[in-house]
C-alpha cells in the first residue's frame, strides 16, 4: 500500500477488478490471480477473450499461467530487476507516453543537489546512517523544498509505514508547485534524468543474469507493454503478496507504479495498478485499522514527542496542497466521533486521550515481546499465527511465555490448541503441564451469523446481512468488543483518575438487538460515515469541519451512509447500470471506482481517445463528468491556476490529477514517504543463493532483521555455510485453502481437495536429490525442519541465474496439525525478516535444502499419515 | 497432438462391476437350473418320467438357490421386490428377473407336484413352463453382462451366450447324472460331455475372436480360473466317458465338470473386472474404431 501511496497519493488499488476487462494488456506478477482471486479473475478472462495479452510472470507455472497468453519464469525475489529492465528499455528507447509524463508526473522536478544515487554509492542512497541503520531522507527532497515535515518523519523511523504511503503529505510545497522544474526533462538533476541514470545498468543481459528471464523476453515484455499503452490502448498491472511479502516489497510496487506512470496508464480504463488484497475486508482492516501506527483514514498515530499538542500534530501532518490540506477537519471529526460531547476545543478535542506510540509495535515485535515477557497478554481474534506467522515455531513458543491468551475463532485452531497439540508438544520441546499460559477460547460467529461490511480489494464496501442467529456461545467481533468495552466502563465507573477518562468518555451507546444484544452494525456504519452540525448523516468528506461541529469515524468512508441510506447495501445488478456500476455497494473515496481518473483526459480535459474515454471536462456544464465519479474537484476547470495563498485542493493546478499528493503529480521519484529509497533498487532477498550482481550493497539496508537465537538467518552467499541451503524456497497459496487454514482445513469439502502438505519440485531437482512423486521429503532451514509429500512437476523448472542452474522449492503454507487436512507448517521454516515500511515478512524468497524421506520423529507420531485417506 | 499419455494417470475409464462372488455362483446355479428344466421337459416328452422327475428336482433346487444369491448381492437387499416394479425390455436384468421368477416358481411347483404327488396337470404345466424358459435362463445372463461397457464382455457379446449355454448344459448334465439312477444316466451323461466339449470350444473361440481384449481371460486371477476350468472340463469329460462302465470315475468326472463350469463363470466375471480396470482396453478399440471411420 505505501508503494501506491507514495507514487499516487492513496494506498489502495487504483482501479476495480471489473475494469480489467477493458485492458489491452494485463501483466500479472507477484500474484496468482486465478488461484487466489478466482471470481475476480473472470474479468481477466474477458479481456483475454477480447484479444488482450495476459502475461503471467512468476517463479512457478500456476493456474494463472495456465490461463495466460504468455508465461515468463523468473527467480523468486528478482522482480525489481525485471521491472527495472522494463523501465530501462522504455527510457532508453523513448517509449514513454511523453505528454502524460511531462504534465502528470514529477519527471520535470529538479532534486536537491545533495542527492546521491545508488549509482554513486554502490547500492546506497545519500543520507545513510550505518549506526542507526536508517536513512536521513532530507537529501532526497525537491530542490529548495522546505524540510520541516521531514523532521517529523525522522523521529518516527520505521513507524511511518501505512500513513506515509497515503500521500506525499510530508512534503510541504507552496502553491502545490515544486520550486524548480525543467519541462524539457533534460536537466541532469531532474527526476526523468535521475531515473534514467538510476536504471541504466538494468540492461536485458544483466536482467537475464539476475532473474533467469532471457534477454529477448525482457525486451519483448517492455515492447509489448509500450505497444499497449498510449492514447488508444492501456495496460494494467495486477499484483498481490508475491510482491509485498519481501524485504523490498514496497519498492516492488513502486517499480510497477513507475512503469505505469511512464506509460501513462494510471487513472485510465483498463490501466492502473490492481493491488489484489486477499482476506475478506483486509482493505477495510487498514482503512479502519487494526494496525498500531495509523488511525482511521490513514491518519498517523501520534508519536511520543516533547511538544504533544494538537496544533503541532496537525502542523506536521497536514500538507499545504492537495486534499491532505484538509487534515484538521478529518482528524478533529474523528475525535468528535470517538469522544462526542467530551471533545471540546478547550481540551483539544480529547487529543491527549489518544495513546502515543514510541517504537515499532508490529506483530513480530509483539512476538519477541512475548518471549521477553514484556507482553503479558494477547487477544488473538480471527487469526492463526501458530500457522500463519513467519517463524511460526517461535510464535508458538512465545505463546507459552504469556500470562494469558484469548483466542476468538470458530474452530479450535492451532493457535487455540498450541498448549496441547503442536509440533513442540509432539517433539517434547514443550510440555503441557509446564505451560503457564491461561488460555481462553471464545467461540466466534461466522459471517453468516452477523451483519457488517466487507471492504474488498477495490475499496468497495459491501454490506452483508445476518442470515441466522449464532449458535450457542458464538458471538461476533462487534458483540465482543462492544460488551468488553461496556464491562470495562462499568468497572471503571466512578473513577476519578484522569487516565480512565479516555475509556469513560468514549461514545459507546450503540443500540443492541435481539436476545444476545448484538450491537447494531448499521449504527456503527453511520458513526463511521459521520454526522453534520444538524445531526444528520453527512454526505462527503469535503463537508467535514475542523471546528468540532462535525463527526466522522473515517473520512475516506464519508458518504457511505449519506442521507441515512446504507450505500454499502445497494445491490443494483450490473446489467442495469453503466460500466462502473456505481450503485452496487459503495467505494471509497466518494464512490470513485477508478482513482486519479482526471488522468484519463488530457491537459485540456479531453479524453486521450474515444476508445479510452472515462472522465472528461464538460465545458458547457462547467464540470467534470463521465463514466465514473470524477476524482477531482468537480467544478475545477482544466486550465485552473491556483492564486496566491490558495490552500489544500485549491492549491493544485487544473491539470494535476493526483490530488492527494502535495504537488498533484504522480511520483516517479518519491522524495518522502518511504524509508528505503526514493526509487526502487534491486536488492537480493535476505536469504539468497547469489550475490547482488548490481551493487556491493547486497540486500535492503533498512530491512528489519530481528536477529535472535531463535530467529537465525541462513548464511548468505559468500558466508561460511551458505552451501548448506542451496535452493530458493518460496511459499504460496492454494485455491482450496485459506490463510492459516482455520476456515478451510476444518471443512471436509475443502480439506479433501488438498488433504496434505506437499512441496513442488522440478524433475531435475527430484533426480538430483532422489525425490519421488507421491513420496516424502524433508525441507530444512536454520529455523526448522519439516516434512511434506512430494509433487514432481515441470511447472517448477529450474532457472539459469548468474550462469548457473538454480532450483526452487515451493510449498503452500496453510497447514498445521489439526483439522481434516493436516501437515507440518511451512512458516516454521521462515525467519522473521521484514520490509521496513510495513513490517511484512519475507515469505516469498528464502533459501533451504531438501532431502528425501520423512522428518525424523523424535517421539511417537500422532495419528495416521496425513493425506493417506 | 496425442503423443501425450493416452489415459488419465492410468485410471480406469469405466467403473468396475460391483458384483461379488454370489453373482458367479448365480451364473452357475441359474444356468444349471435352466438347462436341467429343459432336460426335464424333453425327458418327459420322451416319456422318461423318472428322469424327468430327477431333472425337475435338480432344476428346482438350483433355481431356488438363485434368488438368495442375487438378493444378497444387492446394495439394498430388503428392496429386492423392487425388481418387479417395472418390466423394462431394454434391461436384461429386468427381463431376467421376471423370467427367473417365473421359471423358479414353475420348477418349484413341478417338483412339489412330483414329490407330494398332487395336482399332476398343474405340475406338468409347470414343468413345461420351466422347460421352455430354461434356455432363456441359461443364456440371458450372458446378455446381461454383454449389455455393459466392460470391454471383455461387451466385445464378446456374440460369443458369450454360447459359452453360457454350453456350460449350463454341462453342469446340468453332470448334476442330473449324479442324481439319476443307473438306468437313467445316458442322456445326462451325453449332455454333460457334449456341454463340456461345447464350452471348451466356445470359450476358445471367444477368446481368440477378442484378440487383445482376450488378454484379461489369460492374465492374473481370471486367467487362473480359465485354465482351471479348461483342465477340469476336459478331465471331467474324459472321466465321464469312462464313467459309463465305472460309476466311481463317473462321479469324479461329474464333479470335475461342475467345478469346471464354476471356474469358467468366475473366469468370465473376473475378466470383466480386470478389463474394466485398465484404461487401454476401453480406449484402444475405440480409437481404432475412430481411425477406421476416418479412413473409410
Amino acid at each position: 500500500m505505501p508503494g501506491l501511496g507514495a507514487s499516487f497519493g492513496r494506498g489502495g488499488a487504483t482501479t476495480f477488478q471489473q475494469d480489467l476487462a477493458n485492458s489491452d494488456c494485463i501483466v500479472i506478477m507477484g500474484s496468482n490471480a486465478a488461484e487466489c482471486h478466482p471470481v475476480g479473475f473472470q474479468f481477466v478472462m474477458e479481456a483475454r477473450e477480447k484479444g488482450a495479452e495476459v502475461i503471467h510472470i512468476d517463479p512457478r507455472y500456476t493456474r494463472t499461467s495456465a490461463m495466460s497468453t504468455h508465461f515468463l519464469r523468473l527467480r523468486a525475489g528478482s522482480d525489481i530487476a525485471l521491472l527495472g529492465g522494463v523501465i530501462n528499455h522504455i527510457l532508453q528507447n523513448g517509449l514513454e507516453f511523453r505528454e502524460y509524463v511531462e504534465h502528470y508526473t514529477n519527471a520535470s522536478v529538479i532534486i536537491d543537489d545533495r542527492f546521491l544515487d545508488t549509482e554513486d554509492l554502490d547500492g546506497l542512497f545519500s543520507g545513510w546512517d550505518p549506526g542507526e541503520r536508517q536513512y536521513d531522507t532530507t537529501s532526497w527532497s525537491y530542490e529548495d523544498m522546505r524540510v520541516s515535515a521531514s523532521a517529523g518523519e525522522r523521529e518516527q523511523g520505521g513507524t511511518m509505514g501505512e500513513q506515509a504511503g497515503h500521500g506525499g503529505q510530508g512534503a510541504a510545497l507552496s502553491h502545490g508547485e515544486p520550486p524548480h522544474e525543467d519541462p524539457a526533462l533534460e536537466h541532469p538533476r531532474c527526476v526523468f534524468q535521475i531515473l534514467k541514470r538510476h536504471f541504466s545498468r538494468y540492461t536485458p543481459e544483466m536482467v537475464e543474469q539476475l532473474t533467469g528471464v532471457p534477454a529477448a523476453q525482457v525486451v519483448w515484455l517492455a515492447e509489448t507493454l509500450a505497444r499497449n499503452s498510449g492514447r488508444e490502448r492501456t495496460s494494467a498491472f495486477v499484483y498481490a503478496v508475491g510482491w509485498t511479502q519481501h524485504t523490498v516489497g514496497v519498492q516492488y510496487i513502486r517499480s510497477a507504479s513507475i512503469i505505469q506512470l511512464l506509460l501513462g496508464n494510471v487513472g485510465r480504463p483498463g490501466g492502473g495498478v490492481m493491488a489484489l488484497r486477499g482476506h475478506a475486508t483486509i482493505q477495510g482492516s487498514t482503512d479502519i485499522p487494526t494496525l498500531y501506527n495509523i488511525l482511521p483514514g490513514y491518519i498517523p498515530m501520534p508519536h511520543v514527542h516533547e511538544d504533544n499538542s494538537l496544533e503541532r500534530f496537525l502542523d506536521v501532518y497536514s500538507s499545504y496542497a492537495g486534499f491532505w490540506g484538509r487534515m484538521p477537519s478529518y482528524f478533529i471529526s474523528l475525535l468528535k466521533a470517538w469522544w462526542g460531547e467530551a471533545a471540546t476545543p478547550e481540551n483539544g478535542y480529547c487529543f491527549d486521550r489518544l495513546p502515543r506510540i514510541s517504537d515499532d509495535h508490529s506483530m513480530y515485535q509483539i512476538a519477541l515481546g512475548m518471549r521477553e515477557k514484556t507482553v503479558k497478554g494477547l487477544i488473538c481474534a480471527g487469526q492463526n499465527p501458530a500457522v500463519g506467522s513467519a517463524n511460526a515455531g517461535l510464535y508458538r513458543r512465545a505463546m507459552a511465555d504469556l500470562d494469558w491468551l484469548v483466542v476468538r475463532d470458530f474452530v479450535e485452531s492451532e493457535t487455540a490448541a498450541f498448549w496441547y497439540d503442536s509440533q513442540e508438544i509432539e517433539d517434547g520441546d514443550l510440555r503441557t503441564e509446564d505451560i503457564g499460559t491461561e488460555v481462553f477460547f471464545l467461540p466466534a460467529a461466522a459471517q453468516t451469523e452477523k451483519s457488517g461490511s466487507y471492504t474488498n480489494t477495490q475499496r468497495l464496501v459491501q454490506w452483508h446481512h445476518k442470515a441466522v442467529e449464532p449458535r450457542g456461545d458464538c458471538r461476533s467481533e462487534l458483540w465482543f468488543y462492544y460488551h468488553l468495552g461496556r464491562i470495562i466502563r462499568e468497572k471503571l465507573s466512578g473513577s476519578g483518575e484522569a487516565r480512565d477518562r479516555g475509556v469513560l468518555d468514549l461514545t459507546w451507546a450503540y443500540p443492541t438487538e435481539g436476545e444476545i444484544r448484538e450491537p447494531s452494525a448499521e449504527a456503527v456504519l453511520a458513526e463511521i460515515n459521520g454526522f453534520g452540525p444538524d445531526g444528520r448523516p453527512i454526505g462527503a468528506y469535503t463537508e467535514l469541519k475542523d471546528d468540532g461541529s462535525t463527526s466522522c469515524g473515517c473520512w475516506i468512508y464519508c458518504g457511505v451512509y449519506a442521507g441515512g441510506q446504507n450505500m454499502a447495501a445497494r445491490r443494483k445488478p450490473w446489467t442495469e447500470q453503466p460500466a462502473a456500476a456505481p450503485e452496487w455497494g459503495w467505494a471509497w473515496p466518494a464512490n470513485r471506482r477508478i482513482l486519479y481518473n482526471r488522468a484519463s483526459a488530457d491537459r485540456h480535459g479531453k479524453p486521450w481517445s474515444e476508445r479510452k474515454r472515462w472522465v472528461w471536462w464538460d465545458a458547457d456544464e462547467g464540470k467534470w463528468t463521465g463514466e465514473d465519479v470524477p476524482d477531482f474537484v468537480v467544478d475545477m476547470p482544466p486550465d485552473y491556476e491556483p492564486p496566491d495563498g490558495a490552500r489544500a485542493e485549491k492549491a493544485l493546478r487544473g491539470d494535476k490529477p493526483f490530488i492527494m499528493q502535495g504537488d498533484g503529480r504522480g511520483w516517479l521519484f518519491a522524495p518522502s514517504g518511504l524509508v528505503d529509497g526514493p526509487m526502487p533498487v534491486h536488492y537480493e532477498p535476505d536469504e539468497s543463493p547469489i550475490e547482488n550482481l548490481l551493487y556491493g550493497q547486497r540486500s535492503n539496508p533498512v530491512r528489519q532483521q530481528l536477529r535472535r537465537p531463535r530467529n537465525p538467518h541462513n548464511p548468505a552467499e559468500g558466508e561460511q555455510g551458505a552451501d548448506r541451503f542451496p535452493y530458493v524456497l518460496t511459499t504460496y497459496r492454494l485455491t482450496e485453502h485459506h490463510t492459516g487454514g482455520g476456515m478451510s482445513r476444518y471443512v471436509e469439502h475443502l480439506a479433501e481437495l488438498q488433504p496434505a502438505l506437499f512441496c513442488e519440485v522440478s524433475p531435475q531437482l527430484a533426480a538430483e536429490r532422489g525425490l519421488a512423486n507421491g513420496g516424502w521429503a524433508t525441507i530444512s532451514t536454520s529455523r526448522a525442519e519439516i516434512e511434506a509429500r512430494v509433487l514432481v512437476t515441470n511447472r517448477m523448472h529450474p532457472v539459469t541465474v548468474d550462469g548457473r542452474t538454480l532450483h526452487q522449492v515451493g510449498m503452500p503454507f496453510h497447514y498445521g496439525p489439526r483439522g481434516f487436512a493436516r501437515g507440518d507448517t511451512p512458516n516454521d521454516l521462515l525467519a522473521m525478516v521484514m520490509d521496513p515500511n510495513v513490517h511484512i515478512q519475507e515469505s516469498k524468497a528464502a533459501t533451504c535444502t531438501i532431502r528425501p524421506g520423512r522428518r525424523a520423529a523424535r517421539r511417537q507420531r500422532r495419528g495416521p499419515e496425513p493425506g493417506a485417506g | 497432438m496425442s503423443d501425450h499419455r493416452p489415459d488419465y494417470y492410468g485410471r480406469p475409464v469405466i467403473k468396475q462391476p460391483v458384483w461379488k462372488a454370489e453373482i458367479g455362483w448365480y451364473f452357475f446355479s441359474g444356468g444349471l437350473g435352466g438347462a436341467a428344466a429343459t432336460l426335464a421337459l424333453v425327458s418327459r416328452l420322451a416319456g422318461r418320467r423318472d428322469l424327468a422327475r430327477r431333472a425337475t428336482l435338480v432344476s428346482a433346487l438350483a433355481l431356488s438357490a438363485s434368488p438368495p444369491l442375487l438378493i444378497k448381492d444387492l446394495g439394498r437387499p430388503k428392496r429386492f421386490l423392487y425388481m418387479f416394479r417395472v418390466l423394462r425390455p431394454t434391461s436384461p436384468m429386468s427381463l431376467g428377473s421376471w423370467v427367473l421368477g417365473a421359471a423358479g416358481t414353475a420348477a418349484g411347483a413341478a417338483a412339489g407336484s412330483d414329490l407330494l404327488d398332487v395336482a399332476p396337470v398343474a405340475g406338468e404345466t409347470a414343468r413345461a413352463v420351466a422347460g421352455l424358459l430354461g434356455p432363456a435362463i441359461s443364456t440371458y445372463t450372458a446378455v446381461l453382462i454383454s449389455d455393459t461397457s466392460v470391454p471383455a464382455w461387451h466385445e464378446a457379446r456374440r460369443d458369450l451366450p454360447l459359452v453360457f449355454a454350453a456350460g449350463s448344459a454341462a453342469s446340468a448334465g453332470a448334476a442330473v447324472w449324479l442324481a439319476a439312477p443307473a438306468g437313467e444316466r445316458g442322456p445326462p451323461r451325453r449332455l454333460a460331455i457334449a456341454g463340456a466339449a461345447g464350452e471348451l470350444l466356445a470359450a476358445h473361440r471367444m477368446e481368440t475372436a477378442l484378440g487383445e481384449l482376450g488378454e484379461p481371460y489369460r492374465r492374473g486371477r481370471p486367467g487362473r480360473y480359465a485354465r482351471a476350468a479348461r483342465r477340469a472340463l476336459a478331465g471331467g469329460a474324459a472321466l465321464m466317458t469312462a464313467g459309463r462302465r465305472r460309476p466311481l470315475l463317473g462321479r469324479v468326472g461329474a464333479g470335475l465338470i461342475l467345478a469346471g463350469t464354476v471356474c469358467e463363470r468366475f473366469a468370465i466375471l473376473r475378466a470383466g473386472n480386470l478389463s474394466a480396470d485398465d484404461p487401454r482396453y476401453t480406449v484402444d478399440p475405440q480409437r481404432e474404431r475412430i481411425a477406421g471411420r476416418v479412413t473409410s
Binding site: R63, A66, L72 | T38, G75, P92, D147, S149
Partner: protein, 282 residues
C-alpha cells in the same frame, strides 16, 4: 403395480415435458478452482470422499463416483497453450489442461436403459435422475455407463447408486444448477441444450481462431454412440487424455445382436438337450 417402461420422454409426460436442458462445459476457460465440486457437494449434501493425496497434479479427487458428481481433472503437458510464434515464448512450452467432468445425461442413456427397478428415469427436462428411494443397489448401471460416472455408495451401508441429478431440485424451479452458478468464469454453462449447441459451435470457432491447439467439441453430435450428450464439452486434447472414452457407445444399442446370439445359443441348448435323449438309456 408393475409398469411396462421404456425411455419415456417426451411422450410419457403428456405435454408436461419441457425444453431439454443440459451443460456446455468450456474447458478453455476453466481455472481449476473446484468451486463446482464444492458447490455440488454443499447443495446435494454429499459426504467427503476420503482425504487422500494422490500426487496426480492438483487432482486429489480422482474420478466421479457416488460421492463426487463434479470432478476437475488436471493434465500438465509440455506444449504451448496457444500456437503462436513470438519472443514471448519460454524455452519450455507448457500448458495445464483443466476440465470439470460430470454425468453426460446421455440422450441414449445406458444406465437408464438397464435399470431393472425403474429407479433411473428421464425427467421432464430431459435429464437422467436416480430415485434414491427406489434403487436397490443391483449394480447393473455401474458397468453399463460408458463414462464410468454412476457408482454404488458402499459406505455407511448405503448400497444405492448415486450420480449427478443436474440439480433436478433446482432446475425444476427454474434455478441454475449449483455448479454452473458457482463457476466464476462461466466454464460451466447451463441452459436449453439446443442453444448451448449453437453457442458451442461458435465458441469452437473462436477458440480455434485464437490459436488454442487441439480444440474440439466432445459429445455435441446427435449421431454419436449415445445419440449426443446432454452435458457436452469443449476439450483441448483427445478425450482419453482427460480419462474420457474417445468413442462412447450405449451398449443397449446392440441389444438386438445380443438377444439374437442368446436365442441362437438357447436353441442350440434345446437341441443339444433333445439330442441327448438319443442313445443308451443308462
Amino acid at each position: 403395480m408393475a409398469r411396462f417402461e421404456t425411455e419415456s420422454r417426451p411422450a410419457g409426460y403428456d405435454g408436461a415435458a419441457r425444453e431439454r436442458v443440459g451443460f456446455f462445459t468450456d474447458t478453455s476457460v476453466c481455472i481449476g478452482c473446484k468451486a463446482c465440486e464444492v458447490a455440488c457437494k454443499e447443495w446435494n449434501l454429499l459426504p467427503e470422499d476420503g482425504f487422500v493425496f494422490t500426487a496426480e497434479s492438483y487432482d486429489n479427487t480422482g474420478a466421479l463416483g457416488s460421492e463426487t458428481w463434479r470432478h476437475v481433472a488436471f493434465i500438465e503437458q509440455d506444449v504451448p497453450l496457444i500456437q503462436t510464434a513470438g519472443d514471448g515464448d519460454d524455452g519450455n512450452p507448457m500448458r495445464w489442461l483443466m476440465s470439470s467432468d460430470v454425468c453426460k445425461h446421455c440422450t441414449s442413456a445406458a444406465c437408464l436403459n438397464v435399470c431393472p427397478t425403474g429407479a433411473l428415469f428421464r425427467t421432464e427436462l430431459g435429464t437422467v435422475v436416480v430415485q434414491d428411494d427406489i434403487c436397490n443397489g443391483c449394480g447393473m448401471c455401474v458397468p453399463a455407463c460408458p463414462f464410468g460416472v454412476i457408482a454404488r455408495r458402499e459406505r455407511d451401508g448405503d448400497g444405492r447408486a448415486w450420480k449427478c441429478t443436474l440439480c433436478y431440485d433446482r432446475t425444476k424451479d427454474g434455478l441454475t444448477p449449483a455448479c454452473a452458478a458457482a463457476c466464476p468464469t462461466e466454464s460451466i454453462q447451463y441452459g436449453p441444450l439446443d442453444e448451448l449447441r449453437g453457442r458451442a459451435a461458435q465458441r469452437l470457432e473462436s477458440v480455434q481462431q485464437q490459436g488454442f491447439a487441439g480444440a474440439r467439441l466432445y459429445g455435441e453430435d446427435p449421431e454419436d454412440g449415445v445419440d449426443g450428450f446432454g452435458a457436452f464439452f469443449l476439450l483441448l486434447d483427445e478425450p482419453q487424455v482427460y480419462g474420457l472414452p474417445p468413442d462412447p457407445v450405449d451398449p443397449t444399442k446392440r441389444l438386438g445382436e445380443m438377444w439374437g446370439a442368446a436365442a441362437a445359443a438357447g436353441a442350440a441348448l434345446a437341441l443339444g438337450v433333445a439330442a441327448s435323449l438319443l442313445g443308451r438309456r443308462g
